[in-house]
């Protein structure tokens, strides 16, 4: 019995009237965990019952603790007939299972009913006593921390980033069981909610086990999704990045590593990994790669040497950098070879992170993506493998034999796609994929599986066993020019995977860079950006014939390459039109419907100082002899040029003029090329690689040869920029804005349109879809106008096609107000800085503080180094180790602060404010504690749609309720915010004729405790604000 779960039911309030005669309710509560149920007494005739129950105790395995949700049902006692259920509360007790998170769950939870929505609230206290169990064959993985955040969480540092973990479980969907025909919708919904809760618990436990196997202690960038495959079942799958995290508040773990390199610490990696010949043997665990273990003392001696590149030393450690000027070629190869071997042992060298500790990301190759079309009906067996023992009610339905193949089938599908991604990355000269994500789109029996990420070369330092020496980073950064290293091409110039046009980096002028860069990650904090960024979207629809099974799959497979090509072209054109040269956070979603395919790509465009200035867009007509046509063309051309000029002004893009002599190579003509490798495969067989670049043709010549092309150009120009005072991006932060105020507003907006005509053309469809998205954005700007000046961050569009003629777009984002005056100043300073950097070769100047640091650090005591750091802060070139020093200082205090606060919400009777944000941070505040993952799934159904205000009223109320339930759970954990919040699914179905509608919503995020910066400053002598600015947060993670 490794755990005891204790539950106390305190009181209820605002209960609904269940007895019409008395206008009151005789409520009691059932508390269920696993197979055990307890009941409270009936509290008669009250809408605000005070049960004040005893402690209900459940003695359970920790395996069950992880899988099972605590189920609380509020009922109305009825002497003569069956008791009526008022509603339920599911509580995930996972946050109580690891010591650092919450210790108690206590608070008011909305009582939820899938038919009536929220019906009053119930006050519950939950505690867990865990007994240590040292059984090494255990099935549970209690203690592994989960984070939705796709960067290293703020109060931790990454000791090792182990890599990709994935798992999926499959079950039959209760909605499609025969029993569903006879049971009530409520029972069916509850069965589904419970099943999914169980499955996600199980999934999390299994992933946890994998992490423990890898000797990690946390999963970062955890993304769990559901595939509602209808008849063929329900898949819950998750991916994440296994890490070993250290809490920053424990000084012991930190100080020896960076400040006093004690012998004992250094010895550890060797002791743990005594086997040096890994290259040939191929160790069983991917972690053991002795090649990259090195003595910290050695590295110390090295880092105190001069900044001259000493190649005889660097290759040994394998982490120098590929950017050492002349020797770059061979060195790069060496680096790749070595890091590759570190990663090759992993099946999939993927990372779901989108932001990284400084120095982690060496080069970025470009976006890699893979899609595959699958038929679901080929697999038709319910599988109970996943949740044995928990499926009593479903066992009845097992008319078929067990088929344990199914999860494997799904696994195989994904493995195939991942393999493809891996090979694409390899083609780009990269050994790893970062910002990796997976998604599906299902329509009837056809399913498109998609995966995408950014091919990258990583610094192996974080990937290995042993203590990572933070001080080494200085070495790295000396070699890598700050803010442009990641742009340098990782692939071989002479053997490029696709035709690309390279130039010398506009920043360091030593390495080659491409002229455009597409990535799925956030903008690296040290990147030098000119001006501001903006949200760029490509939208596309393609009609397809209705077809069945394989014919349908084939049709879709045939359409996909064209869609990808067009989406890519649109992105490229829009990027050029904005006068920018790089895309971050790129997410391409392809959605399949009965009779159409939709493509929606969102990304944040920026102007990277390291990349060449983008050329304009040229328009060419096919029939040059026609005079009036010529005139028209030139008119269009003028419009395009004007737009580019206007955008440059709007986004403050004024890159410094660089003469050719300084560059040392001719400024290239703008050419389009593609970083995008993709492929389709139907049922896994052939892998087609499509060259998305336009070959030798000058890509930025748009040929207008028919009306469609003309319309395309028009639609390019119809994208209206946001009204003044508004900016938008889909990444965490907006480049060029860094003085956020604490005013944030997270929101979800949903729109569904019905396509009117029967004879839709691709063109009309495109226009409808484009208008839908544009109008939605316009509405958001209007709604949030009181927050100006403001930026919509992490704008996340999701498209689905619920029915033949319906298009549904769901947007979740956060609006953050910033201080305009300051913003202007900093931008100016930024521009000036980059100007300076580009015009004069001031690398030495930049290096100066770094060298000073590295010299002073080993010899000087702590404080002077810190002071030095503060003066150099906000610049991109700070040695990460030192940054970590300052951050470290805050943490113990932050911890203390938390203790003070944690008691506060409990004592407070009024409803406390819980902030929600899709970002990993809260502006103007510091996260002091992570309380655990929030992962909730709700179903809401109605048979009185009109009475509830139609579809809009129904969904509006439901989403508000979902927010409320998330907030209540966070508050009960003692938290005051959810970060990295995401609405992963919002499946809406309606049947207005029957007056019915149903909606499924799945949300997740990290519950945290934050403290306002102003509160923190009282106790600390820290550098102001900068500490929590996202631009600097990366530093916390290193050493």
């Amino acid at each position: 019995m490794p755990g005891k779960l204790k539950v106390k039911i305190v009181a209820g309030r605002h209960l609904p009237v269940m007895d019409r005669a008395s206008d009151l309710t005789d409520a009691f509560v059932e508390v269920k965990f696993g197979n055990t149920t307890f009941k409270t007494d009936v509290y008669p005739k009250s809408l605000n019952p005070q049960w004040n129950s005893e402690w209900f105790k459940f003695e359970v395995d920790d395996e069950d603790l992880q899988d099972e949700p605590l189920q609380i049902t509020v009922l109305d006692h009825d002497t003569y007939s069956a008791n009526d259920a008022i509603g339920k509360v599911y509580i995930d007790i996972d946050p109580l299972l690891y010591s650092e998170a919450a210790t108690v769950i206590s608070g008011w939870f909305p009582i939820y009913d899938t038919i009536h929505g929220i019906r009053g609230e119930i006050n519950v206290v939950v505690k867990v006593d865990l007994f240590n169990d040292l059984n090494r064959f255990r099935q549970s993985s209690c203690g592994v921390k989960f984070f939705c955040t796709t960067s290293i969480p703020k109060c931790y540092r990454a000791v090792i980033i182990h890599g990709f973990v994935e798992e999926l479980v499959v079950n039959e969907d209760p909605e499609y069981q025969w029993i569903d025909r006879i049971r009530t919708p409520r029972a069916s919904n509850e069965a589904r909610q419970r099943l999914i809760s169980l499955m996600s618990g199980e999934l999390q436990r299994k992933i946890g086990l994998k992490v423990l196997e890898m000797r990690g202690n946390a999963v970062v960038g955890y993304l769990q999704c559901f595939d509602l495959e209808g008849e063929s079942g329900l898949v819950v799958r998750a991916i994440g990045t296994a890490c070993t995290l250290d809490k920053l508040s424990s000084p012991a773990a930190f100080l020896p590593a960076c400040n006093s390199p004690s012998k004992e610490m250094k010895e550890i990696p060797f002791n743990e990994d005594p086997n040096p010949n890994t290259h040939s043997s191929g160790p069983s665990t991917p972690l053991k790669n002795q090649t990259y273990s090195f003595s910290p003392s050695k590295s110390y001696s090295r880092q105190s040497s001069s900044s001259d590149t000493d190649l005889s030393l660097t290759p040994k450690t394998g982490m120098g950098s590929g950017s050492a000027g002349k020797e770059g070629g061979p060195f790069k190869a060496l680096l790749r070879q070595q890091t590759q071997s570190a990663l090759e042992q992993r099946e999939f060298p993927f990372f779901t992170l989108t932001a990284f500790p400084p120095g982690f990301l060496v080069h970025v190759g470009g976006v890699v993506s893979a899609r595959s079309v699958k038929l679901l009906d080929r697999i038709h067996n319910p599988a109970f493998v996943g949740i044995m023992g928990n499926t009593r009610s479903y066992k009845l339905l097992d008319w078929n034999s067990f088929n344990s193949d199914e999860p494997e089938t799904r696994d195989a599908w994904w493995a195939e796609i991942r393999q493809e991604i891996k090979s694409h990355a390899k083609a780009l000269g990269c050994h790893a994929v970062v910002g990796y994500s997976e998604s599906t789109s299902i329509c009837e029996e056809v399913c498109i599986l998609s995966a995408s990420g950014t091919a990258a070369v990583l610094n192996p330092r974080f990937l290995q066993d042993g203590t990572v020496e933070g001080c080494l980073e200085q070495r790295l950064e000396e070699n890598l020019p700050a803010g442009c290293g990641f742009c340098h091409i990782p692939y071989d110039e002479l053997n490029m995977p696709f035709p690309a046009h390279l130039t010398y980096c506009y920043n360091c002028r030593k390495q080659k860079v491409p002229d455009v860069l597409f990535t799925t990650i956030d903008l690296p904090t040290d990147a030098t950006v000119i001006g501001k960024g903006c949200l760029i979207q490509a939208r596309l629809c393609r009609l397809k014939k209705k077809a069945q099974a394989e014919a349908n799959a084939t049709a879709i497979s045939n359409l996909l390459p064209f869609m990808e090509y067009e989406v890519h072209t649109q992105l490229m054109n829009k990027l050029k039109l904005k006068g920018m040269n790089a895309l971050f956070g790129l997410r391409i979603q392809i959605t399949v419907g009965e009779n159409m395919l939709m493509g929606l790509a969102s990304a944040t465009g920026v102007y990277l100082a390291a990349l060449p200035t983008p050329g304009g867009i040229q328009i060419a007509g096919k029939t040059p002899n026609d005079g009036s046509y010529e005139q028209h063309i030139s008119h269009m051309q003028k419009k395009i040029n004007d737009t580019i000029a206007k955008n440059k002004e709007l986004y403050e893009i004024n890159p410094p003029e660089i003469s050719e002599e300084i560059i040392g190579s001719p400024i290239p003509e703008p050419r389009q090329r593609s970083r995008l490798l993709r492929s389709q495969s139907e049922s896994s067989d052939e892998v087609t690689e499509l060259d998305l670049s336009h070959g030798k043709k000058d890509a930025f010549v748009l040929e207008i040869d028919d009306t469609d092309a003309m319309e395309d150009v028009h639609s390019l120009l119809t994208d209206v920029p946001p009204p003044s005072g508004f900016y938008s991006c889909n990444t965490e932060i907006m480049p060029g804005i860094n003085n956020w105020t604490s005013e944030i507003q997270m929101f979800t907006s949903v729109r569904v349109i019905r396509l009117s005509s029967l004879n839709l053309t691709n063109h009309a469809l495109n226009k409808n879809f484009n208008d839908l998205c544009e109008n939605l954005l316009k509405s958001l700007y209007f709604k949030l106008r009181s927050m100006i000046p403001c930026c919509l961050c992490h704008v996340n569009f999701t498209v689905s096609l619920p029915e033949d003629e319906l298009i549904q777009v769901t947007v979740t984002a956060v609006a953050i107000t910033f201080d305009k005056n300051q913003a202007l100043q900093t931008t100016k300073a930024h521009v000036e800085k980059s100007l300076q950097r580009a015009s004069t070769d001031n690398e030495e100047l930049l290096q100066f503080p770094l060298e000073l640091c590295s010299d002073s650090l080993p010899s000087h005591p702590f404080p002077p180094a810190k002071e030095h750091l503060e003066s150099a802060s906000s610049n991109s070139g700070i040695p990460a180790a030192q940054r970590a020093v300052t951050v470290e200082k805050t943490s113990p205090m932050g911890e203390g602060n938390f203790r003070n606060r944690s008691a506060a919400p409990c004592a407070n009777s009024t409803v406390g404010v819980v902030k929600m944000t899709p970002l990993s941070f809260i502006p103007g505040a510091k996260i002091t504690k992570y309380l655990g993952i929030i992962n909730m799934f709700f179903i809401r159904e109605t048979t009185s749609l009109r009475e509830e205000g139609g579809v809009s009223g129904f969904l509006h109320a439901f989403i508000a309720e979902v927010f409320a339930m998330v907030r209540a759970h966070v508050a009960a954990l003692g938290g005051n915010a959810v970060v990295s919040y995401i609405m992963k699914q919002c499946v809406f179905m309606e049947n207005p004729n029957k007056n019915q509608a149903q909606c499924l919503i799945n949300v997740s995020g990290d519950a945290v405790v934050f403290a306002r910066e102003s509160e923190l400053e009282v106790v600390s002598t820290q550098q102001p604000a900068a500490n929590c600015q996202p631009a600097c947060t990366g530093g916390e993670v290193t050493t």
């Binding site: 949903v750 729109r751 569904v752 316009k778 958001l780 709604k783 409803v911 508000a960 409320a964 309606e990």
Partner: protein, 357 residues
Amino acid sequence: MTSELDIFVGNTTLIDEDVYRLWLDGYSVGDAVALRVRSGILEQTGATAAVLQSDTMDHYRTFHMLERLLHAPPKLLHQLIYQIPPSRQALLIERYYAFDEAFVREVLGKKLSKGTKKDLDDISTKTGITLKSCRRQFDNFKRVFKVVEEMRGSLVDNVQQHFLLSDRLARDYAAIVFFANNRFETGKKKLQYLSFGDFAFCAELMIQNWTLGAVDSQVDDMDMDLDKEFLQDLKELKVLVADKDLLDLHKSLVCTALRGKLGVFSEMEANFKNLSRGLVNVATKLTHNKDVRDLFVDLVEKFVEPCRSDHWPLSDVRLFLNQYSASVHSLDGFRHQALWDRYMGTLRGCLLRLYHD
């Protein structure tokens, strides 16, 4: 392309004050959009009419969902579904319970029943206030009435506690409830010149002095019903006009004191007995419910109108009433001084408030 569904849900519920006002005023979405367009919002923000339509719909939906909670404001504070900053909550409640002067004058003193509700159509046409808004205001009155009806303690405090209204608004509701409970007639033509403020002022004085709560703060309904015993006792005042000697003495006391101080002395002297008879008779009749209802009609008929026809200035009315009340203390044969003060103290305040054009 038609929009099937269009919603916006913020973690903090967005409240647009202007749209809230339009909603409270009972405008349909279409009318509200038209009014917003006319306000020039499109030019200011560069938005399109479609955006405005969607925004208005959205706010209306939000308000509609909040309305259930606004019916019991403490629920709005404790509910978990809509995260609204306290200042916004207060604004929502205060505006929701605010009412139109024109409307309240129509229903003041009427029974808050279904019958009255049926007349809202006419009231709407007469006042130009939309029927929807009339219904909201009427339902607010009725709801507050039902909740505080049988409660112990101060009426104003009860209203404030259960509806979280500002002090000013809570006082107004106390007056409305008090009037509705006692069914004072306020709609007669003669009374049309009086504002709600006039009545509310009188109501407050009457609650303070004439109800059960004025003598005992521990009874139910203490601020709602007039003190029956007190009303019964008022019969004793009859002697002031029935006893001719007492009346004459009273008159001479008042005349002596006011001679030379009053611009309308001769008119006062001529009318004294009529006025006094009027004021005392009002008191003695208050045992009948019917006469209680007609209190304001009687006061206007018996006192305000005669004085007004003689063009008494307000300062003279004040002097007269002060002297009229005070002189009774010098009447040796009169034993109900305390009763007189309780009656006349309030009545004097009311009359002075009622005395205007």
